[in-house]
Point group: D2
Chain length 363, copies 4
């Protein structure tokens, strides 16, 4: 188990889906940042079930508590421990299938790796629920990044076969944030909702693609050769269950282009060096180039489906079938959107601190 991410600004997550709580420690946060539970709650609420029609009906209040690291409303420089107590837990659905491997889940790998001692209820620590701790940490990172003007944002660009029309960067915030699927293309969003409703009826699920963007990026974040900005972002984003691919800028499309099409020419704009296009997604040589950072992640369809699937009973070591009951999102995409944005903030914050851009004490 390796539950700590980052170098100067680090997060350490803990907890399980059906245990007493989930939580996270943010370490390395500069002192003097104004921070309250409400600052964290706001972001956690975006991830909550029930916000989107695509989500489960499990009623999670997800109330954020801050246990340490705050004094007189400000960060002290000490580690910030935050947690959410688990409520509304129903284990009956899991008891029935406790020896059956749910296809697409970590049941099998965890079972082998932890010798069967892992807490399989609801996926234990492999549950998507753990991403609420990423959002908590991200909320702190976002406040820190805001002190240097950097903002991270994510939006849904595809669900199943339905692809949103591209929208200029500056319109994403206002259009996506009020959409139930965090999609900036209202017409596409309607079709996506219909598609999700359709698969839900079938007991099936859908995946999609989320795009993350960071605005007002400084030049110079990233530590090549190995601690590249793209590398560390990809690593952090792949910690989100269901993410199966990550691409930057033109990404896999770049593979089909000529150099003359893919290279971003340099130009001057208001005395600053910029690129005319942004196929690089704001990263050159593993280092931010000041253009908007653009990353897209592939979200696989929710693994928990009501349809019958072939599987193995690990106790009897026999082939059998499984129907995964319980409350599950037919499409996890909208709930992953704030997680993507949070994780980007965590990584960018760490790099900004390494680059010396965020001071150790905020005034």
């Amino acid at each position: 188990m390796s539950n700590t991410l980052g170098k100067l600004f680090t997060i350490t997550s803990f907890g399980e889906s059906h245990g007493g709580c989930i939580g996270v420690i943010v370490d390395g946060c500069p002192a003097g940042l104004s921070l309250s539970p409400a600052d964290i709650q706001k972001d956690v609420d975006l991830r909550r079930a029930g916000f989107s029609p695509a989500s489960t009906t499990r009623e999670e209040k997800d109330k954020v508590e801050i246990l340490s690291g705050i004094f007189n409303g400000r960060t002290t420089g000490a580690p910030i421990c935050m947690l959410i107590k688990n409520e509304s837990i129903d284990d009956t659905a899991y008891d029935k299938i406790k020896n059956l491997l749910r296809p697409g889940h970590a049941d099998f790998t965890a079972h082998v790796k932890y010798g069967g001692f892992n807490d399989r209820r609801g996926g234990g620590m492999f549950s998507g629920r753990i991403t609420a701790t990423f959002v908590m940490a991200g909320a702190v990172a976002k406040k820190l990044l805001s002190t240097i003007g950097v903002e991270t944002l994510a939006h849904t660009v595809a669900i199943g076969d339905i692809v949103a029309k591209p929208v200029p960067y500056e319109q994403i915030r206002q259009k996506a944030l009020k959409d139930p699927l965090f999609c900036a293309d209202a017409a596409a969003s309607k079709k996506m909702l219909a598609a999700v409703a359709a698969v839900k009826k079938q007991g099936d699920s859908l995946g999609g693609i989320i795009e993350g963007v960071a605005f007002n990026m400084p030049v110079g974040l990233g530590e090549s050769l190995f601690d590249t900005l793209d590398g560390d972002l990809a690593k952090a984003l792949l910690a989100i269950p269901a993410v199966k691919g990550v691409e930057f800028g033109a990404g896999f499309t770049a593979a089909r282009k000529k150099g003359s099409e893919n290279n971003d020419p340099f130009a001057l704009k208001n005395g600053k060096i910029v690129t005319v296009t942004n196929n690089a997604g704001g990263i050159l040589g593993g280092i931010s180039n000041g253009m908007p950072l653009v990353v897209r992640v592939a979200i696989k369809p929710t693994s928990s489906i009501a349809l019958e699937q072939s599987t193995v009973d690990t106790k009897k070591m026999k082939e059998t079938t499984i129907k995964v009951e319980g409350r599950h999102d037919a499409c996890i995409v909208p709930r992953a959107v704030p997680v993507i944005s949070a994780m980007m903030a965590v990584v960018l914050c760490d790099f900004a601190m390494r680059a010396g851009l965020i001071p150790r004490v905020l005034k």
Copy 2:
């Protein structure tokens, strides 16, 4: 700068394209492994210019030297320092453009991050040449992995618009390794060669997609939440210049599937639990599931092209144009193939050591 990768099995790269040498330190290698310069040279030669018709004509002998860590032909447990002296260096092409930012390169970001002190000749440490050090480290990792039967392999699956036909895993090795583009589909390879020759004539370049596969994987490699197998692989692969995207198994395709299509059902085969399909690419919950590990990376077209491009002169702070002369690969894809395979080996070896699968002393 962060030039060390890994936790128990670590690599630290150094050197520049036009400096005296490039090299790498492999630390954490178990004692007792039989290792000679020839073991390393063999893999380095696969990456060498001139091997493939798509590559530059820069004549690099790339002779591997081992400076430490070997005694009586075996590893000692001490760090293994290996290097390749740079030869056949021609700085004239770079002198002319030393204040001009080459589009697609790290010139701009390095210039800002290092205050203009970076060695810009040939891209300095951002040069693709540094990947020869990844191959050196990978050769050690491959020997270690072979002691537990794990093998990594990479092959070209697309160049520009030309996509190779899928080939069963077991045929990749024999078909791809003898192809000049490391492509397992001979018909596609021919078309790819023609496409590369065509863009070369135009002074342009092409990108592509490489697939990496690891065979005979044990169950249990990967340390969720954050040091996932996919996360650390993605991070390592994105350290390779030109990689702009990474996906596992069905990857971005999974985003368009239903859960019932994308989930890999479990079954028993010879008393072992396997998955019937491999959309997961051999990874569930960030941990290997014993199926072949499948990763694909997007390689952008070579940034160095002979065509005129818009850019900025950083000394005069004026817009101008640039033609990048010198010897460049019109398509970097075939030379990146052994690098992908090497980096996979480095990461897998580290995880195998963390899991206790490779002992600290080999007999």
Copy 3:
């Protein structure tokens, strides 16, 4: 702030003396270890105030809660979060001196480093109270080490000028553990108690020396050059407030010896290679040699004393005097004993895991 220690077996501490709680996350613990709050409580109780006549009268129940990482009474492989809620907190003593730097404390350095935002009540996170979290983590480490027979133990060897007579290793456990000062020399212990009582009356304090011993050590723990067993032990022990020196085996005495006196000759005992003496303290070249590991730490006298001391008022920036009121130990040594033993266990456990001696799953 860097609140994580270790590589494979890691601990992350959080909390403040006068905040809501103190706690620790143990990450990397193998799955399958039987673990209950009582296992932890037992060790925490040894550190508690009131146990020893030398200690403060602050009544701390210090009840251990486990928030995550346990399922059906066994560790799951997931991070184990444990905490102790703070009770019986009285801030009045601190309010009066909130702008006065207490000599010997971290008040000044924390004030500067954290820009005055640090929680100074009771020393905040610099309080000795945080060492209860080390004991919690150590209790887990001790259980793990017991699976390979390794045991760590600490005892008081000096308080002020009173030095305990040396006791054979095998007698330390039985003699020291029942002594109120954890001193194996009963006669010395009586004098120590009298000495502590005397300084307490004066409003003053005393320091001392604690010796830690690890029995049944395997050969080979330690990762030279830099992650040596002695180096990482020293680092961990210096995280305990009040520790000002660390020495191994003959330690500073070795500096006065000749090589012929200090070298430990090798011999065979029951077919195993041993050393005849143990001036090395069980460590050669940063690696354990199988002999008992012996480390001694210097504990400075408690910084909080009732006597008047010169200091500075940081608000008025004027020289003044301070009397530190509140409940303080006249001698912290006995309360530090279980902390030394715990920290040794944490470090040894990490190295044992790196050496592959403790499996990832316990049966």
Copy 4:
């Protein structure tokens, strides 16, 4: 093996006593630092054999080469690889004893840990010779620290029973640097030289104590709880073979003092907060307090002595005796002095970078 030290400013050592070379990679050095081989050579020469009458007669030229990271005489931000080729190697003395464990050396632990594959000639990588790489790295760190006014210095304070008289901090530099034993007390130095000559005649050796001091320290270096300034210094210093103890300020003496004697009162001096005494050695709560940093290390007597010692033949598994021939220092203390100073610089430089005091680009 863990041969990398540091977080932002890191060093990675490699090489063996009787292999082709020894070397080090300095990573994380800011760009723009003027650096030449002569800057490094100057410090390496201080450690060289033959400088002091106490040292071996092995003639080592120890010529420093810089392989990477420098362009136009300045650091580029890329890793700096430096090495020294080994010359004047005579293996005959070691061949005779290759199966005999030298008491006091790492022969035994390395033999077990590395299954007999370690390079035992001259101690291999456990040789004191490897400390020349620490000096190389330290030379870079010292240049960086000089940009913020910080200076590290070490001097001999005891050899065997002879203890130097205390000298005011400000006199150490001028007095110690010109002394053959780096001792600031000329009278003591003479006696020390005689004592060393005497044991040399007997075929025996002597240890001693070295004090390191860092001047002009900023307040705030150190990252409690676990990455304390004292903890990381101790860890780095214990990587030097022969160091068996580390203490800060009053150190072990503090254990015998009362709080009222040991606490350093605060006062104002030229508008700055200082301590009147320096029993803390410049560190409070693991963080520098701006006073001179004072650390003392115990150096054990040279393990290689010409006298007959009991040992074991690992091949025959029989008890026998050994006389360690070859060229050895009768007292390693003077040669360790520049190493102590170098290691202090390496650690302080890393902390200064973490605190944001040294910019990423030097102008």
